[in-house]
Assembly symmetry: C2
Homo-oligomer: 340 residues x 2
């Protein structure tokens, strides 16, 4: 088995304390590889990184239009939200519009992803509901698709349910992979989780960013999703969180989406590039830093980086470690190369 | 550079999703290697794993005795506590006994390590204080040593302060390494952080568990520390947390202490073994699983494992992954070998 290269080094003082190995790829909509680090054909579970792709049936079916969903509501369907009151209210709004309730959601309950939101909820004397699940927006999108098709939504998280079949089909078309529903694993929010080559995730994001290699319906659907995301980055994750910050600071140039276990995918529409990173050990701190570094190098090389984008990406690609007193005690630095 | 072997594999369904590489060693008090995985001479920052060693001056100086510290208070000085009301009250009790206050603590403030304790604090409308810092017990121990010596404790976290010099000396004697205070990095709680060969951490824990190779004063000090820990495992970390659970379930056979960035150290006094694990990427889930598996194999091989210990260790060495609905979606399994 290939050993993945070291991509992020964490130092205490000047000494190495930990490091992360991983794989990364930049590809076009046709699957052409622009940059490759590690084994990009080896499989990855993209997890929540492909939420913008899983949201396609919501738009392509006409559900978003019929129910009058706002761009913010569509963006929430693409997000792993922090569980803030705004996120919860946005999910509730979708349920009201489609005539369903939180009892129809099958994603399960967890305390808000964001520890600050979690404590704020506790301080209000409340307990989390299914709406606080970081995937509740995505699941509301699934229900909207089911509602417009007049489907019985019960059991919609099963791989063989018509809603999930449509979602699986969208992933398959976007990533250019065949997916067998009988081979599905299960994601944290109960829906099917498929593995696929890392390069296929990048291909999917190149198509998502450009509409290239897609049917007219799919191409116009991804254009709506793209617009929804770049105008509502707060719905992607939340205040101060990676996906939101990078997408906000790089408005129009880049959008990114993270998934659990060290995955991040991104699009650079102007260059027709899709990007995907998988850290072997599943560490998010490394996935976000490596993606930020890749984006930074590509944007700078092509001269399309704004000052804001450079600042935001630099801050994620290379960051200081501070102790509880705020003293700088070390740093994390990416060692990603732009050539294979 | 050597590539560390794979030690923990995380699967979704039957497919590999992530994995962790790392190093592990079992050594005796003389530094003889019983088992070695990966490069055990390469350095590691033991971080909080060596708190029981950093507590030696508290006991060896006579401070614990003079101020009438309880076993629970000594155990808290060896722990990375969860920030529960009991932990906070125990730290406060030490401060009262030594005539100092929380204003003297220099470890910094953070929300309780344990998310449940953190939310409970928020629900009470409170903010964390320096006493909630997971290292507050250790720092109270430092202050107790300073108090018994009549030292000015201000700035005690500096490597050149007499308190830290005594702590550094204890680490040096226990691990059998020379430490240069001018080369100290800084830990999360502001005290010096030294790197040392992984095998030296294991050697230190073999000495901690047996008193072998130590002066009579040090040997009796580590005996007191050992007794304090095994009778108060709750002070090591907290309800449901690894150090507390394993030390409680293996009472008398084993004690373990975790540190940040994927480090766990342990003692098996009956066999005169010290153990140390470092996961390359700093993941705690892998460090605890790998340590549990090592302990399990050794205890079973030597026939000294109780049913409780086997059950507890097995549960940490190999665990299921569940989604938010409680459905099993995967598993993490250690691949540690008992031969090098």
């Amino acid at each position: 088995m290939d050993v993945s290269p070291r991509l992020l080094v964490v130092r205490r003082g000047q000494e190495e304390e930990s490091f992360h190995r991983g794989r990364a790829v930049v590809a076009t909509a046709t699957g052409e590889t622009v940059l490759s680090i590690g084994d990009i054909e080896a499989p990855v579970f993209p997890r929540s990184a492909i939420k913008p792709i899983q949201a396609i049936p919501l738009v392509a079916s006409g559900a978003a239009k019929k129910f009058g969903l706002s761009d913010a509501e569509i963006a929430l369907a693409c997000g792993s939200h922090a569980g803030s009151p705004l996120h919860v209210a946005t999910a509730q709004s979708v349920l009201r519009k489609i005539g369903l309730s939180q009892n129809d959601l099958e994603c399960g309950v967890h305390w808000p992803l964001d520890s600050g939101e979690s404590r704020a909820l506790a301080a209000r004397g409340e307990e989390p509901t299914v709406l606080h699940n970081n995937c509740s927006g995505k699941h509301c999108g699934f229900l909207a698709f089911g509602a417009v098709r007049g489907l019985d939504v019960a059991g919609y998280t099963n791989a063989s349910h018509p809603i999930m079949r449509e979602v699986t089909k969208a992933i398959s078309l976007m990533a250019g992979v065949e997916l067998d529903e009988s081979q599905a694993c299960i994601d944290g929010c109960a829906i099917p989780a498929f593995s696929m080559p890392l390069v296929s995730v990048a291909t999917g994001f190149a198509r998502l960013g450009t509409g290239e290699c897609l049917s007219p319906v799919l191409a116009s659907s991804v254009a709506r999703i793209r617009a929804a995301i770049v105008h509502n980055p707060l719905m992607l994750s939340g205040e101060g969180r990676f996906d939101t910050c990078v997408t906000a600071e790089c408005r129009g140039e880049v959008f990114v989406k993270s998934g659990a276990e060290g995955v991040v995918a991104a699009s650079i529409p102007a260059l027709s590039y899709g990007l995907a990173v998988k850290i072997d050990d599943g560490a998010q701190r490394a996935a976000t830093a490596v993606m930020a570094n890749l984006l930074l190098q590509i944007l700078q090389k092509d001269g399309i980086a704004t000052a804001n984008a450079i600042e935001a990406l630099t801050g994620h690609a290379r960051f200081q470690l501070k102790n509880w007193n705020g003293t700088v005690v070390g740093a994390a630095e990416t060692v990603t190369r732009t050539s294979s």
